[in-house]
Amino acid sequence: MQGLPADHRDTIIMWALAKLDVAAFVAASAVVTGAALFMLTLFLVVKGAPPGVPVGPHLGQLALFFPGYSVTATGAFIGGAYASVVGGIAGFLLAVFWNAAHALFLAVIRMRASLASYSID
């Protein structure tokens, strides 16, 4: 690796300690998880099943957790909405814990820096 200029090194530290934008992370998580279940359901609906065989019986068991969900076109929208909520919550928790860990780390560094300055005085 080449020796980096000082400001580039600062950028690396800034990147390493950067916080996640919680709202953006929640939005992205919600959209992607919602779209995933929506598309998965719709894919199975379009693919269909032989006469007399239910479509997506295993995926349909999600109805136990998501009341109203079914492997149908309407169910795809309902499932997508539920999955968005679950994904959004997971994204929120991940972003908040990530930010909290970094805030804690920075607080410790600040505290150690101020303690060091007292000992010099």
Binding site: I12, A16, L17, H58, A113
Partner: protein, 209 residues
Amino acid sequence: MNNDAERDEITDREVLEATLRFNTLVFSIILGVFTGLTLLALSLVARYGTGTGRLAVVLIGIFLPGYGAGGFGALLGLFWGLLFGALLGAGIYRINARHVLAKVDDLVIAEGGSNGFPRAVLRLDGSSLGLAIGTIGALGLLATTNTLVARGTAAQSVHARLLSEVLPGYTVSVLGSIIGAIELFAILYVFCRAFVSIYNRVAGRRHRR
């Protein structure tokens, strides 16, 4: 002059390694706790609920020795979840960061700061995240499928075979697992690109560079 350059290089590496170690640890802990608590909750729901999720617990138990519905099985699930979640987290973060470091200037939105500590908002890199999560997902599918093949229970693995509904060409065999892994990698890569695109767009609007 040469000594200065060498010292600079060592310092750069130390800075990089220290920041990577810290972030890998943080991400591992978060993912480990998430996975562990999810397995614990699933086990308790399967044991004390109305039978919901029992099949999922049984299927996961094939790969995590001792994991089952309720009590001791739940605690073992917590342990395995912590372990595998942490390993997955470390893998994802390391693969992601390897490629991110080359373009670090594009991945922060500086926000100023206080007490000499500049703060910034993180931007993500779609191809790096896609590569990281796609690789881990594909390796996971390869490992689980080939565990079933090695156990000699591939023929009875009706639930694993269901994956062929969404991954055409996948079978519970060595060749099928490779085909499935390639498809899963592609799907995860596309979803990660979409995720990062939304995140960066929203974050960019809320925090002007």
